[in-house]
Each structure stands twice: as structure tokens, then as C-alpha cells.
Symmetry: none
């Protein structure tokens, strides 16, 4: 099995608050190709030190992936450090400079002179195109060992790796069949989930099991590494059968699909539409729904009624309901959902009202208390939860998850 080392470049990643996340994504992709990551580095914008690290990594491992430090400024030392480590020259590549300039022109801007630096290429390197930014990457084969130079911004790096590096790596590595069963689960806590499934996954060394939890949304990945597709699929269906039995409908996807996509697919299939009315989440639910490309096919829009007055004005929540029960109540949630459904003309409407803290618009509901309602063709349903009131953003995220879960169970 081939070994890889990953070097992240940038002094900003040596501060107390920043973490290099590119290496996590790259590790996942490399593992899937059967490559093991044996060391990771974060090095500041220091040419000499970076060159030393690159040379050491290349001596020890087969693949060296370097991310970042490809910008146009003096601080961007990666190109120079690679040249130094490999003892190769850099050449000016006119077509790259032209492509960068064209990019600036498309944005109605003039290319600053310093951006020409981004057109310097190590002698003998293959150029890796960047379809998300100006800095091209480089693939340098040094007699069996490979140095990959990739941009730092994650969206640029991911696109480049997938389009340019993955096919080249697949070509040079022995075939390994990796299949992943990616379950997505809602409606239970991480420890409940782990207690439920650990008797199953502990029986197996292959597949490798990973449990991920994020704001009430859980994923379990079973990654099987086998010699053939048949073997991998047989192994995963053996696992799937056991897990389905203990988790049942709490699994909302077997294909790793996010809840907002599952819901969207179901709405498209039934030709139905959705609207939202948000108070505590202030747009976060609609943001999540519309993060799905193509959501305009079923999502009509929504109401963000942060103030009491707008709940009445835009959604027709009766003043008496607000006064008698408060803005954070089952009655208000129901009236919001019904109002949103009627006024938007959607088949379904979700509402969220709650107290994410710290202030409450004169309400008495405790921080962390959230009501979610769903108005549909057959009436309105409401759910209530109180989360430990520690974190405003977490309460908001949990509330959105709860709303989508409620809709999904009704579709």
C-alpha cells in the first residue's frame, strides 16, 4: 500500500483558532484509493522551512500533497519551496497568465501585476487546472514518487483533486474496491445511536465504521475495502440488514443524502410545494432548504416573522393567541404554519417558533424551548422540544432538523 503525507501551508493556520480541514477531506479520498496517510504538517509562510519539510516527506513517502500558498503575494511561498526541495527551475507559462487575466476581465476587473506570479511552473510539472480560482495546481512525478501542489481554498482544492488528481492516482495505483454504506439518521441522540449499533459494528474489522453527529443529524458510514465489487456489496448488505432491524425508520437515507434533499425529492415526486414561517431560526430553515440545487421546483418561499407584530401582520396569527399563549407556544406555531400555508398557497408549510436565547421579545418561554408545526392537506401537527440552553446556533440548528424530520415523516 502506498503512503502519503499532507502539508498545509499558511501562517494563518498556526494560530490558536484555525484548523486545517483540507487534510481531512484529502485523507478520506486517499483512503478510498487505498492510500494511507502517515503524517500531516502545517508549515508557516517560510520558504526554507517548507522546502525542508517537502524534501523530508518525499524521502519518506510515495505521495506528497501540498495545499495553499499559491496566491499572488510575497507570502505565497509554495511554488518556490517546491522548486527548492526538488532542485528544479520554475518557468513562466504564458497560457496560465492569459487564463488568469481572462478571469479578471470576466469580473470586469484589471489583473494586478503580481498575479503573474501564479503562472510560474516547476520544470517538468503537469499543470492542474483550477475551475474555481486563479491559481493552477501542479503534478510533479519524480520517478515514481509524486508531489501534488494544490490551492488552499477548500472549494478550489476539492474540485481540482477530483478532476485532475483522482484519475491520475487511479491510473497509478492497484485497483481496490471501496464501497461505503452511508446511513443518515434523525430522531435519536449520538450515544443512543452508538449503543444501538455498536454490538453490530464491533463484530467487523472490515468495514470500518464511523459515527458522525452534527446538531441532531447523525451519519454512520460503513466503509468496506475488498478485492471485488461483489464481495464489498455482499458485506455491506449483510451489515445493512442488521442495522435496518435495530434502527428502522430512524434511518432517513441509505445513500448519505441530507434530509433537505430527501424531503425535496419526495416533494418533486408528489408534485407538491412547501413554504416556511420562521421565528427563532430567522431564515436558517429556508436557507437549508434552498441550499439544494433545484429547490425552486417545490419551495415557494416563506415568512420570517421575528417580531410579534409581523406574526400577526404577515401570517394572521391572532393577537389573542399571542397574548394568551405567548409567541413561543403550540398555538402560535400552529397559527404560523396555517397562515404560511394559506398565504403562500403551498401544499405544506413548516413553522418554527422558539427561544434560542438570550433575549425573548417579552416572552416567558425558557431558552432552548422550541415548537415546530406542520400544516398540510389534512390539518396541522405540532411538536415541542427543550434543548439544554447552551448555544444559540445549536438550538437553531436542532430546531431546523426537527422541522425537516417532521415533514419527512409526513411525506
Amino acid at each position: 500500500m502506498k503512503n502519503a503525507e499532507i502539508i498545509a501551508v499558511g501562517s494563518e493556520m498556526l494560530t490558536p483558532t484555525r484548523v486545517d480541514t483540507n487534510s481531512l477531506w484529502l485523507t478520506d479520498r486517499l483512503n478510498a484509493l487505498g492510500v494511507e496517510v502517515v503524517a500531516k504538517y502545517v508549515v508557516g509562510d517560510d520558504r526554507g522551512r517548507l522546502a525542508g519539510t517537502i524534501a523530508q516527506s518525499l524521502a519518506a513517502s510515495d505521495l506528497v500533497l501540498i495545499s495553499g500558498g499559491l496566491g499572488p503575494t510575497e507570502d505565497d511561498v509554495t511554488r518556490d519551496a517546491v522548486a527548492l526541495a526538488l532542485k528544479r527551475e520554475q518557468l513562466f507559462h504564458a497560457p496560465i497568465a492569459e487564463a488568469i487575466e481572462a478571469r479578471f476581465i470576466r469580473m470586469n476587473r484589471v489583473m494586478p501585476e503580481i498575479n503573474k506570479r501564479q503562472a510560474m511552473v516547476i520544470a517538468g510539472a503537469e499543470i492542474l487546472s483550477n475551475d474555481r480560482g486563479t491559481a493552477p495546481g501542479q503534478w510533479i512525478d519524480t520517478g515514481g514518487k509524486v508531489v501534488m501542489v494544490l490551492p488552499g481554498p477548500p472549494h478550489e482544492l476539492k474540485s481540482m483533486f477530483e478532476r485532475e488528481c483522482q484519475p491520475r492516482l487511479e491510473n497509478m495505483l492497484p485497483p481496490v474496491v471501496i464501497r461505503t454504506l452511508a446511513l443518515r439518521i434523525s430522531g435519536m441522540s449520538e450515544s443512543e445511536l452508538d449503543q444501538t449499533i455498536s454490538p453490530i459494528y464491533k463484530k467487523y474489522e472490515n468495514p470500518v465504521t464511523t459515527v458522525l453527529a452534527h446538531n441532531g443529524d447523525m451519519q454512520v458510514h460503513f466503509r468496506a475495502r475488498c478485492a471485488s465489487v461483489d464481495e464489498a456489496e455482499a458485506l455491506l448488505s449483510e451489515i445493512r440488514e442488521q442495522v435496518d432491524e435495530v434502527l428502522g425508520t430512524r434511518i432517513y437515507s441509505h445513500e448519505g443524502e441530507p434530509l433537505e434533499s430527501v424531503v425535496g425529492r419526495k416533494l418533486v415526486a408528489s408534485g407538491q410545494t412547501l413554504a416556511v414561517a420562521e421565528s427563532a431560526t430567522g431564515g436558517a430553515l429556508a436557507d437549508r432548504i434552498t441550499s439544494v440545487a433545484g429547490s425552486s421546483a417545490y419551495f415557494l418561499g416563506g415568512f420570517i416573522t421575528y417580531s410579534r407584530a409581523l406574526k400577526t401582520l404577515l401570517l394572521g396569527v391572532p393577537l389573542e393567541t399571542l397574548q394568551a399563549h405567548g409567541a413561543v407556544s403550540a398555538e402560535t406555531a400552529k397559527a404560523m404554519a396555517q397562515g404560511a400555508r394559506e398565504r403562500s398557497g403551498a401544499d405544506w408549510a413548516l413553522s418554527i417558533t422558539g427561544n434560542a436565547g438570550p433575549s425573548t421579545d417579552g416572552d416567558e418561554a425558557p431558552v432552548g424551548s422550541v415548537f415546530v408545526a406542520l400544516a398540510g392537506p389534512e390539518g396541522v401537527e405540532v411538536q415541542h422540544r427543550v434543548w439544554p440552553a447552551s448555544d444559540r446556533q445549536r438550538v437553531r440548528a436542532f430546531a431546523g432538523q426537527m422541522a425537516l424530520d417532521l415533514l419527512n415523516r409526513n411525506l
Copy 2:
């Protein structure tokens, strides 16, 4: 100024889901002592490779901090690797073995024989006591340069560093004061920003300058390290004066405050209110505004009019406007902002309409094209930008930044 490198040991930290957080905490503590962290490493449980990394770090820097790999098993290679790198012997230290054994006895357990390995000490090392676990740490002074060997579990590492390392470091380091000027900037590209300010920051070795860019939002941090508070503050105000002159109103905060908070503070101060009307961003702008605790004081709510029909129904955008100019147009953006302002009763209303891709609800506007309008007491203003159409989420984020920037300039 002293330099440090941090090495985390453990193959489990080379998986796609685990991050080394000890180094973030250590960086914070070291920075506060005036020590700069110039490189970080994660190395698997491999004696030879780890020894190589330690030797390289010690050659390049003054302080080397190693965490993890001090357990009793074969996998725990840190002690051996340090001995190898420093070319020193290890000696059995009976009092440590006795202390570990006593700890087992207190927990009513018998010490496994392998735990004796944890009593091996590098020749010449000072022993660092561990009040949270079995593995002691080591402090090895090699003629001015120091290697610190620390346990991996964060609560053990933190306690040991605070009790044992910090006092030793304070003794050997000159007293230092650190002050940071954190600017936030909007309305220019990262390379424009760098070209504008680099003639200033390049004149100084102290403060250290860091430029961060995220979806059109930029930060510049100047970190001054001085012998006294007065000196640090004088230095930063000298920098501030020069930067203010070249950046002017593109600086929206001198205290590192995010744009949504700056806008919120201004609205509170003037007693004014805000509403939004979002199409392309689908709630993301309202989400960002309401992520600020206390935003209910000025944010009334908003309209997410994803479909054309809702633009007319909820905001009163004339059908003729949509037909003549399209949903993604200056005219629609203006009508949306005016409609949101009138129907919510807010003093200010921001609207966003654009094409974040990939589908367009029958519109002809190119992907990446965004119109932002602001309706206020003195009329309505509209701005237009086209971003490279590569990434839906980025177009949405840029559009939100553009909207908040427009509001901020008008407050």
C-alpha cells in the same frame, strides 16, 4: 523571539474525522508567552519517522512540544523516538513506577506489567508530574533548546503544561506584551486589499500581519509583540493611522466585529428597524442577521419569495415588472425592497434577487448575476454584480455580504 514546533503523535489522528486540538490550546499559551509556533505535525505511531521529525524540529526551532504516545503499549513510541532523536539513553526511574502502581492500587486494580514502560526516562530529563493520569512528562534541556514530552489526553496535557512547563518557560523567556489590531474590510478583492496595504505592513517585522478572506469578507490582523503595553499600543496606532488612510470606509470594524454585528449596533443606536426580502439567498441573509444575539431589537423579519408568484403576492412586485425585466433585474430588486419595507413597516429593507445556479425559474439572467437593493427613508438604491458562476453556496454568501455592506454604508 523564540520559535516553537508542536508534534502530535498518534495514528488515530490521521483519519478523516479527527483533528488535533491540543496544538491549538498550546499555541494560545505559547503566543501569550511571546513564543511563535512556526510548524505543527501529526505523526503516526512510527518510531523512526517520529524520531526524524523531532530531530528536524529541534534543528530548526528553540522549543519542541510533543504530545501523545506515552501510553504503556507497543504502539506508544514517543519515549523511544525522543531518545533516538537526541541520541540519549533511557533509564528506569523506580519512583515513577511506584507512583503508577500506587495509582492502580487506589483504583483497586493491579498494575499490568507493561505499565513499567511508562517509568523510562531520557537521561538528563526533568520529570513533569501528571496529576490526571499515569504517564509522566519530560522536560529535556539540550543546551538552550528544550524538548517537552507531554501526554495526549487534553485534560492531562493542559494540567501538566500549566503546572510544570509554564513556570519553567516564564523563567527562561523575556517578559512580553501582545496586542492585536483586528480590522474587518468589505468591498474589495483579496489581492486588491493586499496590494493596497502591503507597502505598509512590509515596513514592519513587528507587528506580524495576517490577511484572511472568506466569501468577500476580509480580515487583517496586526499582532504587536512588545516589552510594554504603551509600546504595543503606540505601534498599533501608528499602523492604524496609515491603514485608515489607504482603506478609508472599506474598513467596517477596527475591533474584529463581524459586519452583521456592526450593522446591528448602528440600528440599535439610531432606534431603526430592518426587514429583508430574499430570493436567490433563500433565507441566508436573514439567518446571518439573526445569528447576532439581541437582533430581535431591530430585525422585524422578512420575506423569502423564491417563486415569481410570491414576489407579486407577498411583496407586490408588479407582474409587468417581472415580465418586462425578469425576476433577476434591478427593477425587481427595487420593487422587492420597497415592498418589504412597506409591508413590514421597517425603516430599512434589503432585497436580494439573483441566479445562484443551476436552475433559473425561466429567467434569462446568467448564473452568478445578483441584484441587491436597499429601500430606506430616502428612497431605494440598487447594486449589481456578477460572480464567476462556479459555486451556488459561494454566490449566495457573496450576495449576503454585498447586501450588508450596502446597508452599512447607508447607516
